[in-house]
Subunit: 305 residues, 2 copies
């Protein structure tokens, strides 16, 4: 009697099926056309749900200005997740040395110098300085529609924890009442959207993955003040469900950092709702199977109808 | 009599109109919803033109595996354009030092360590190792459809020379005859596409921007062998038109580098056609004006019809 083969992990089955493509780096994958068609359908679905709100569409590339990144405070909380972009700035002799290092299998990266660009850690990070530069908010505040590839340095074998992934966001700026009403609206809309997609879910208070011991206090504080909620779906496991949407009330953090002011001159409050497009796609693949054509008709109608 | 104001550059007029958004870094810009609508329309147009060919759609994120990047040979020709991704890998004491550097306005990036990820320099670079891993090509060869954000470290005030931009590509692998026929077909299709978009254009032999003196020889060789053609449109100036599409015959360069073999076991040849989505968008804005609604009806029909 031969032993049963070990069950293949969800990630392996995604590779087997060609939905994700190995690159040799954990958390960095190619996507098939089928996988992309779901990501694009989700992006359109979010646009349909939020479309009547009249958000201003802005799209930033996957990198942002290092000066803005430094000012944002991201390095205080999440130094371990950030990715800085470095380049070769030498002459021909330096180039020869670089190639010799590479040929010898030695580290050639030590001489790379930091450029003015840092990978975008969350779709809304490039937005705040742009909004601040426009001057005081109008009475109704502002609403933005964003999407970009984001980078987080956290190599993992959980397919839901990619190093490069797309985040769709709506960001609201205004009075505390305006931004909290926005967050409440999207908590409802997001829950409806996910249950219409046939996904089991729970809304839970959450905290960001702050670095170190000091970070624990920040995390506890964030939970105690109910600043962050996540909409969780079991994907990798039932025990540790995956945050597919997040709803964040920043209070006046970005308003103060960037000097964003309400119409009356007081510091603006901000909130955002973020959709993890790959994560929702993976949740759909987990719950409805790896064959998109075999997904329930009502789910397909939501996405491709 | 007061002096006439200096004429605003094309880039300034794009900022004034809100089509591009300043980030403080030359060559790194946000895009408005209107700008993005053109990029997306061009992407769809290319899909329509090439759709019947049955290319396999793959989408890679804007970063690729460093090991693959190193093997690709990119650093031989273009060390100055590459962008490596670096991260903080220290402990809490290192974090405190990093923040102290940042507060003091000193360089905090020296301790960042290279990760396993490098920014993608051209949409097709992550493809070759994936194709090689599949084994010998079928008799008909293979055809792929790619698109991704690409990075090139060349800060510039020419709006057509962005550091982060999107490249759509078709890549053909097979016999020399198969890949040259593909390139010829796309030279014709690309020319028709661009003239249907009302853009003045010229097809010119070209070379890649190889680094250094040795690079000059590579460039001369590439021209002499007619390996690269570009479809140029005046955007920034008449004198130095902008390459909006490029048509590249790699001979057996990538086949040899990656061990991609034809059905009969001989080394595969490859070719690609690349569409600079931001560059074509900028060419349209230059030639038809900054108000998309006022573009010629036949151009709008091609894009949004």
């Amino acid at each position: 009697m031969s032993e049963a083969p070990a069950p293949r992990s969800f990630l392996d089955r995604l590779f087997d099926r060609g939905l994700l493509i190995r690159t040799g780096v954990d958390g960095l994958y190619g996507r098939s056309g089928a996988f992309e068609s779901v990501v694009e359908a989700l992006d359109r679905l979010v646009s349909r749900i939020g479309g009547a709100d009249g958000a201003e569409v802005l799209r930033f590339p996957p990198g942002m200005a290092r000066a803005s990144f430094e000012r944002s405070g991201y390095l205080k909380g999440f130094p371990h997740l950030a990715g800085t972009v470095h380049s070769f700035c030498g002459n021909e002799a330096d180039h020869a040395r670089l190639l010799a290092c590479l040929d010898a299998g030695e580290d050639w990266t030590a001489k790379q110098a930091a450029t003015d660009i840092v990978l975008t850690p969350a779709a809304c990070y490039p937005l705040y300085p742009v909004a601040a530069a426009r001057g005081r908010l109008p009475e109704d505040g502002l609403l933005f529609d964003l999407q970009s590839y984001c980078f987080r340095h956290e190599p993992s074998l959980e397919p839901t924890r990619m190093q490069l992934f797309r985040m769709r966001e709506y960001v609201r700026m205004g009075t505390p009442e305006q931004v909290l009403a926005f967050r409440e609206l999207w908590l409802q809309r997001g829950t409806t959207m996910m249950s219409d997609l046939g996904l089991p879910l729970a809304i839970d208070p959450a905290n960001d993955p702050f670095f170190g011991r000091a970070g624990k206090m920040l995390a506890n504080n964030q939970r105690a003040q109910a600043l962050k909620f996540e909409l969780n779906v079991p994907v990798n496991s039932e025990d540790k469900p995956t945050a597919c949407l997040s709803f964040n009330y920043h209070q006046d953090h970005f308003g103060t950092t960037w000097g964003i002011h309400q119409a009356d001159g007081s510091v603006a409050h901000t909130a955002c709702v973020g959709f993890g497009l790959e994560r929702i796609t993976l949740a759909l693949l987990r719950h409805h199977g790896l064959d998109l054509d075999a997904w329930p008709a009502e789910v397909r109608a939501q996405l491709f109808g």
